[in-house]
């Protein structure tokens, strides 16, 4: 290879290697991009609003059925269920319901529920004013609790949606919690995610 060709090759190789490294970074950039994309489009049923809802008036011309579903991952021994399976609500009206959780093991445990809304189109219209899923829930061995959920269905919910399903998966965070406790010496169960 001539010298000139060699420099040309070196430059090309540097550029291609940079491209490869950039693509490695892009792989990681897909993670926040994915969240942003889901937030903007409301895909994935994750972008519900939290905190006080800014709802003008109650729409009494129609009702929406809100269903509650709970899921325990395979390694989660708690009893976890909604007190009501479903509610019929007016859009714009404040609603309260509770979920029941029981730590049936002989160990102190911490759990947190992760919500998801179906259809995902409805997710931005389900305002959670207060939700047990905002915080970690500690429970002593054998104890149980009722966990509150305050929510409002936005009156601007598209007309064709008549049923919203709110699903919670309850995850065991006991190990995480122990680690956090050791490192941060935090108040038990009040460490928010």
């Amino acid at each position: 290879m001539t010298e000139q060709n060699q420099t040309k090759t070196n430059r090309l190789v540097v550029r291609l290697a940079t491209a490869a490294i950039a693509m490695f970074g892009f792989g990681f950039a897909l993670v926040p991009l994915y969240d942003v994309f889901c937030d903007i489009t409301g895909l994935n049923g994750k972008n519900f609003s939290q905190g006080p809802a800014d709802v003008a008036s109650v729409d009494r011309s129609r009702t929406v059925k809100v269903q509650f579903v709970t899921v325990n991952p395979a390694d989660m021994p708690w009893e976890f269920k909604p007190t009501l399976r479903s509610m019929r609500v007016y859009p714009g009206e404040d609603q309260t319901t509770t979920f029941y959780a029981k730590n049936s093991t002989a160990e102190w445990m911490v759990a947190q529920a992760v919500p998801s809304v179906t259809p995902s189109e409805a997710a931005p219209y389900l305002h959670k004013v207060n939700c047990f899923c905002f915080d970690r829930q500690p429970l002593d061995a054998g104890t149980d609790t009722e966990m509150p959920l305050l929510f409002v269905v936005d009156p601007e919910l598209p007309e064709h949606i008549s049923t919203i399903t709110l699903s919670y998966a309850l995850y065991d965070l006991t190990d995480d919690q122990k680690v956090t406790q050791l490192t941060l010496d935090n108040d038990k169960g009040r460490t928010s995610l």
């Binding site: 290879m1 060709n5 040309k8 090759t9 090309l12 190789v13 291609l16 290697a17 491209a19 490869a20 490294i21 950039a22 693509m23 490695f24 970074g25 892009f26 792989g27 990681f28 897909l30 993670v31 994915y34 489009t41 895909l43 994935n44 991952p73 947190q112 992760v114 179906t118 995902s120 189109e121 998966a169 995850y171 065991d172 965070l173 995480d176 680690v179 995610l193």
Partner: protein, 532 residues
């Protein structure tokens, strides 16, 4: 047609630096010669093909009858996983890199690859990657058992301990592929003989150039996704762990962002090979050369915007399903252009049916069947029925076995006389072809039927009504598997002895590689040839 001129100046050993290969094992360890490295890649690929093939036969033996006969379900899952990983990363990809090493410098009139030392390295890390991967079979808990697509959380929360070895293996083979791709791009862009413009390059070179760009774009994403797994497993992150705010569906998106271009990485060089072989044996120029180049380029570009058709059932919104459905169907257009061009090349050609041509024609027919079942899978509403059934297995085996693998065999038979200097044994070649052709179809065609009837993939046992088609598929698999011994016999015989091959080898063959004597000397094109 190119005339044979064995007195071309560039084939003479005039330069005192140009010597033959070194002796002994050192030749292979330290070599920077593109032909040596190409041969090593091909031999490596063939041995991985055999190992992956044995795993396939274990799978088919278990599935010969309903019920559990031979292996434990967990071991069965290890077999499906390892079979997929080894065939994709160990057999098909290294075979194409090996062919690229051998043929690209000879086809563009270059003395060697642009980065010969890196070339040595990118080969020699590969056996270690697969040693690491295969060693996991002997570890407590067994080898990876989560499928070659290693979906989280199966591959993170529920994975066997050996998953870390799998991750490092993938890292190493990814590094090898990226280095190989950089080398190929540098060679093609900087080392062409004077007068070899881009649009005069043989199609095998063109398809590999585009494939190499795909590799650089997506292999790092694969490295990224396994790194995220590693961090989730060992460093407490939650990329894919919903309990920590992550999302398992994210895994599928990142994986298939790599995975879909990956399937084109495994087929584009095959398109190049077929575009070399069909004109030779039809004794006509390739029909629509430039449309072939543009078709390959557009397939490569489209491959980045179709990934979610692998995951129609994850609960995507309608807009997403429709977009990915139509984007996927769009790929049928450039692919159709290629198939029609091959047929048009054969049309009214004076065709002969030597072994490479038989494999090439079988490629066109059977790859098209695989393409059509792919179109069926692209239809989002229908995919809910086909998803994760044997129909998918039938589809991708039709594009990979009589697609990628047949093209590699066609390429081997086509260029073997150039490598070894011996004419092919046509009788044995045809025997291999017909056994493979029958074996492949008997194996994979019935899978369409059981898939449509609802048999799920990756299971060691199945409902009774699928028994007949499954035993048929198993018989076909054993025919196909054992007929590859004929292939190995053919290659070994050809290396050892045979009728002396001319430089031209095939009388319709065009291109620079046919101007150098057979076997190709250790150093070729030390002085660049003139291309007009």
């Amino acid at each position: 047609m190119a005339t044979v001129d064995v007195d071309l100046p560039h084939v003479k050993d005039e330069d005192p630096h140009h010597h033959g290969p070194a002796k002994g094992l050192g030749r292979w360890l330290y070599t920077t010669n593109h032909k040596d490295i190409g041969s090593m890649y091909l031999i490596f690929s063939l041995s991985m093909f055999m190992i992956g093939g044995i795993m396939a036969l274990i799978i088919r033996a278990e599935l010969f009858q309903p019920g559990l006969q031979l292996v434990e379900p967990n071991f069965f899952n290890q077999m499906t996983t390892m079979h997929g990983l080894i065939m994709v990363f160990g057999a098909v990809m290294p075979a194409f890199v090996g062919l690229a090493n051998w043929m690209i410098p000879m086809q563009i009139g270059a003395p060697d690859m642009a980065l010969p030392r890196m070339n040595n390295w990118s080969f020699w890390i590969l056996p270690f990657a697969f040693l690491i991967l295969l060693s996991s079979l002997f570890m407590p808990g067994g080898a990876p058992n989560f499928g070659w697509t290693f979906y989280a959380p199966l591959s993170t929360t529920y994975a066997p301990e050996s998953v870390t070895f799998f991750i490092f293996g993938v890292h190493i083979m990814g590094a090898s592929s990226i280095m190989g791709a950089i080398n190929i791009i540098a060679t093609i862009l900087n080392m062409r003989a004077p007068g070899m413009t881009l649009m005069k390059m043989p199609l095998f070179v063109w398809t590999w150039l585009i494939t190499a760009f795909l590799l650089i774009a997506v292999m790092p994403v694969l490295a990224g996704v396994v790194t995220m797994m590693l961090m989730d497993i060992h460093f407490g992150t939650s990329f894919f762990n919903a309990a920590g705010g992550g999302d398992p569906v994210l895994f599928q998106h990142v994986f298939w962002f790599f995975g879909h271009p990956e399937v084109y990485i495994m087929i584009l060089p095959a398109f190049g090979i077929i575009s070399e072989i069909i004109p030779t044996f039809a004794r006509k120029r390739l029909f629509g050369y430039s449309s072939m180049v543009y078709a390959v380029a557009s397939i490569a570009l489209l491959s980045f915007v179709v990934w979610a058709h692998h995951m129609f059932t994850v609960g995507m919104p309608l807009v997403g399903e429709v977009f990915f459905m139509f984007a996927t169907m769009l790929i049928a257009v450039p692919t159709g252009v290629k198939v029609f061009n091959w047929v048009a090349t054969m049309f009214r050609g004076s065709m002969t049916f030597e072994t490479p041509m038989l494999f090439a024609i079988a490629f066109v027919v059977l790859f098209t069947i695989g393409g059509f079942s792919g179109l069926m899978l692209a239809i989002a509403p229908a995919d809910f029925q086909y998803h994760d059934t044997y129909f998918v297995v039938a589809h991708f085996h039709y594009v990979l076995v009589p697609g990628a693998i047949f093209s590699i065999m066609a390429a081997t038979y086509y260029w073997l006389p150039k490598w070894t200097g011996h004419q092919l044994n046509e009788t044995m070649g045809k025997l291999h072809f017909w056994l493979s052709f029958v074996g492949v179809n008997v194996t994979f065609f019935p899978m369409h039927f059981v898939g449509l009837a609802g048999m799920p993939r990756r299971i060691p046992d199945y409902a009774l009504q699928f028994a007949d088609f499954n035993s048929m598929a198993s018989v076909g698999a054993f025919i196909f598997g054992f007929s590859q011994l004929v292939f190995i016999y053919n290659v070994i015989q050809n290396v050892r002895a045979g009728e002396k091959a001319t430089a031209q080898v095939w009388d319709g063959a065009q291109g620079l590689e046919w101007t150098i004597p057979s076997p190709a000397p250790y150093h070729t094109f030390s002085k660049p040839p003139k291309v007009d």
